[in-house]
Amino acid sequence: MSGGRGTSAARVAVVQLPGVNCEAETARALERVGLDAEVFRWTRPVAELSRYQGYVLPGGFSYQDRVRAGALAAKDPLIAELGAAAERGKPILGICNGAQVLVESGLVPGGDVVEIGLARNRMPDRTGYYARWVHVRVERSRCVFTSTLEPGTVVPLPVAHGEGRFTARDPERIPALVRAGQTPLRYATVRGAVARDFPANPNGSEAAVAAVCNAAGNVLALMPHPERAQDAGAVSRSVGGAWGERSQNAHAAGPGLFLFEALARHILEA
């Protein structure tokens, strides 16, 4: 997909590593907010990545999730190039498998060593892949992608993953990230309380963390799928609240679009 309404000044690469499968709808969400999205496949020369003003690593199963989800992709030369772009302040959004890649590469939360991980879901009486709608609460942070929403806002988003539990060897690490404002989205109840228990916290993530960003706020590892929530009509009836009611309007802007809108505003205002 290419040739959106945006100008060439606002080009975003949807980076497709082998096994990625959400490239088309991710590009559609970007085009919807006025960005020029282009699927950038792994077989293209790495140097061509520098032409873009922002990057999205979509969901899927890069390199078959071998070893651990995202572990092999993190070693791909494309990711080293994205690391350099991140240092220059370019925005990078990793969704689901893309989040796993960002965490495995250490781009999130940043620093020289890999500090946190996305472990297998911890759920009562079941294991493996789990797909459902959950709510996330916007936290106070410097993250580019949540900058358009007030802290405390509750948004429904779908999750679909088998390895989505943010954790760290150091038990103080995740709480420290929360305090540092590097967890811009946390799983919450529909009323906005932090979700400690399954299924509102769908994977047992520590401190109910749904997304982690780097200290500068321009790189975000996000487990839910905002691109699947770009249409109001996609919202599950089970969601309830205002978004559940609005779900009758199939093509109206959905609850997931705000992350892409924030990206567009960031790029276009830069």
Binding site: G19, T43, G59, A131, G233, R237
Partner: protein, 650 residues
């Protein structure tokens, strides 16, 4: 003419297919003595072992429909929307606005009984490639699962479906799950896929143009799945089924995703003259299908990229290694085709060319291994009129308690939203996918007969009506059907009768609805130690939704709750279905009554709506077919005589 290698004196060459000592090769391959004679007569000579192996696969029930084809002619298959009826990789219908839908349901029962994870996964992979071969992008999967219990085997099959569908990025949006002791030793795994394509991209499998090149691409070829179609799919299972494990294919959805994207890029670019997937019977079937209309194909099996050493020509020919496709390419476009396949990092090789001989000729390192007029493999496949003997009526078996429990834990393992088309998700009747960027949509359902239904005619009719009613309840006008016929051994007269009766039931229901059956699959020999499964026709229905913003969703406070009743006849049932989809835009909810009856249907509707409410169940809910909810002022205007109000939403 090249000299045919005489292999008939080398019995050891096929010894991995002759597990039973001291029996003639043709029987070990699943051919009868009569079929061997027919092959001799048609060829006018003795077949060599290579040729015999190819015949055994193509003349298996799975590929050749030799017991079912005469009966299947009964099904209506034409209509003004039909662009492609039965006989290709999938049926295709025109849905207007320049768009078409390709869809088909297929069984993978026997492989799943032997190894449920890979059996189910490759069932999904196979049906995906059938849809891709028509030039369509797969946009939805549905699964019909029937198992003895929700135990280990079932959980592994669900995991296999999730593995393949989730990894390739195709949403699994529906299906049915039934637990019944009758399927304990013969589980059913039926997979349906639906794909979307611009009408002008419709691609077919028939080879065209003498001198065009045959390109094999995708995964490499190994010994997995050798003899799958004949050994697994067309014989009864018995003690020692575990020994058949080497015949189960292994799926690789990672390559499957690349194969889908590369194939669609080839089709979009107009780079291929025809396309065929390598499914059951591998290259043998793919090439025979391509060559059947008189074209002829010459293939050099030594050119096939292999993953194992020292494979025999016959092994290469019939291997069922997954994630492979065959394309016919004009020589002038080969470089462009190769560039696309290189870009997607897929193996590829020119393995042959289209001829004008009508023969399927197979070479290895210059030697002619086999030469068979292609029509003998397909059109001349023996057809048997099955003997029919009515089975005495049997009492319906009890419904297992596991059927009454929520199925959410199953579909929560499936990615239901990937591709972001899903407007209405699994959990109630049919799923709805939006046809972006318009507001039109598709409602899709896959349904089988009620649990424990033993009357084959009723099973066939109710499968069709159930699937169509699900679609109508989601606001879709039923357009066409696909069917998967799961039965026992058709060589037994009572099974032959069941098969014929079920087809009659499907045909009458389809005729009453005025819609065709455009594709399908037959899975026979679902027997273990002589005990057959109940007649289990599983039917997929595709419907068109005029406006996805106006589909029944959930009931609201103040709505009248109604029960629509209808008689048992297919005509009355068909009329109800038409009423349901025509009324759908004003209904706030519609829900089909399935096995659980009215009480259960209301409980499901309440759970779906998120609002419990009190209703008074009629003393005698006979004939109840659907629960509706509609705003009180609209209730009077609904055009159906047998509507009973049973309550209102608080």
């Amino acid at each position: 003419m090249e000299r045919l290698r005489d292999l008939s004196c080398e019995p050891a060459r096929l010894n991995s297919l002759t597990p039973v000592a001291e029996q003639p090769l043709h029987r070990a391959l699943g051919l009868t003595d009569g079929e061997l004679h027919r092959i001799r007569d048609l060829l006018g000579r003795e077949p060599n072992h290579f040729e015999l192996a190819v015949f055994s696969l193509l003349w298996s029930e799975h590929c050749g429909y030799k017991h079912s084809a005469p009966l299947l002619k009964r099904l209506p298959s034409s209509g003004e929307r039909v662009l492609q009826g039965p006989g290709e990789n999938a049926g295709v219908i025109d849905i207007g606005d320049g768009l078409a839908v390709a869809f088909k349901v297929e069984s993978h029962n026997h492989p799943s009984a032997v190894e449920p994870f890979q059996g189910a996964a490759t069932g999904v992979g196979g049906i995906l490639r059938d849809i891709v071969a028509m030039g369509a992008r797969p946009i939805a999967l549905l699964d019909g699962l029937r198992f003895g219990s929700p135990g280990f085997m079932f959980k592994r099959a669900v995991a296999g479906i999730a593995h393949y569908g989730n990894c390739t990025g195709i949403p699994t949006v529906g299906g049915e799950t039934v637990f019944d002791e009758a399927y304990e030793h013969n589980c059913l795994v039926n997979a349906m896929c639906l794909g979307l394509l611009p009408v002008e991209r419709l691609t077919r499998a028939r080879a065209r143009g003498s001198g065009n090149l045959v390109v094999l691409y995708g995964a490499t070829t190994g010994r997995d799945g050798i003899g799958g179609a004949s050994v697994l799919a067309s014989q009864e299972l018995a003690e020692g089924a575990d020994e058949k494990r080497p015949s189960v294919q292994v799926g690789d959805p990672f390559t499957g995703k690349k194969l889908i994207e590369a194939s669609l890029e080839l089709v979009d670019g107009g780079l291929v003259a025809s396309l065929q997937d390598c499914g059951a019977a591998g290259l043998a079937s793919a090439l025979a299908e391509m060559a059947r209309d008189g074209a002829g194909v010459d293939v050099s099996l030594d050119q096939v990229p292999l993953r194992e050493d020292a494979m025999e020509p016959w092994e290469i020919m019939i291997s069922e290694s997954q994630e492979r496709m065959v394309a016919v390419v004009e020589p002038g476009r080969l470089a462009e085709v190769q560039a696309v396949l290189d870009k997607w990092e897929l193996h590829h090789a020119v393995i042959g060319s289209v001829s004008n001989t009508g023969d399927l000729r197979c070479f290895f390192a210059g030697d002619l291994e086999g030469a068979i007029p292609a029509s003998l493999l397909t059109d001349e496949c023996p057809r048997y009129e099955v003997e029919q003997e009515p089975r005495p009526p049997r009492a319906r078996t009890a419904i297992a308690a596991a059927n009454r429990e929520s199925k959410a834990w199953i579909y929560e393992q499936y990615d239901q939203l990937v591709q972001s088309r899903t407007v209405r998700r699994p959990g109630l009747d049919a799923a709805v996918l939006r046809l972006l960027p318009s507001y039109r949509g598709l409602a899709i359902s896959l349904d089988g007969p009620p649990v424990g239904e033993l009357d084959p005619f009723v099973a066939g009719a109710k499968a069709v009506l159930g699937a169509a009613r699900n679609v109508a309840c989601a606001g879709g006008e039923p357009l066409a059907l696909t069917d998967c016929l799961n039965f026992g051994n058709p060589e037994k007269p009572e099974i032959g009768w069941e098969l014929a009766q079920a087809i009659e039931g499907i045909a009458q229901a389809a005729e009453a609805l005025g819609i065709p059956v455009v594709s399908g699959n037959v899975s026979l020999y679902n027997e273990t130690d002589g005990r057959a499964i109940p007649p289990t026709p599983v039917v997929g229905c595709v419907g068109l939704v005029a406006n996805v913003r106006r589909i029944p969703s959930r009931w609201r406070s103040g709505d009248a709750i109604l029960v629509a009743e209808a008689g048992e006849s297919v005509a009355e049932q068909a009329a109800l279905i038409e009423f349901l989809w025509r009324s759908a835009p004003v209904l706030s909810l519609a829900h089909d009554l399935s096995d659980g009856g009215l009480e259960r249907a209301i409980a499901e509707a309440a759970a779906w709506s998120g609002t419990e409410t009190k209703v008074e169940l009629p003393a005698n809910p006979a004939g109840a077919a659907a629960v509706l909810a509609v705003s009180a002022d609209q209730a009077a205007g609904l055009g159906w005589e047998r509507l009973v109000q049973i309550g209102e939403v608080a």
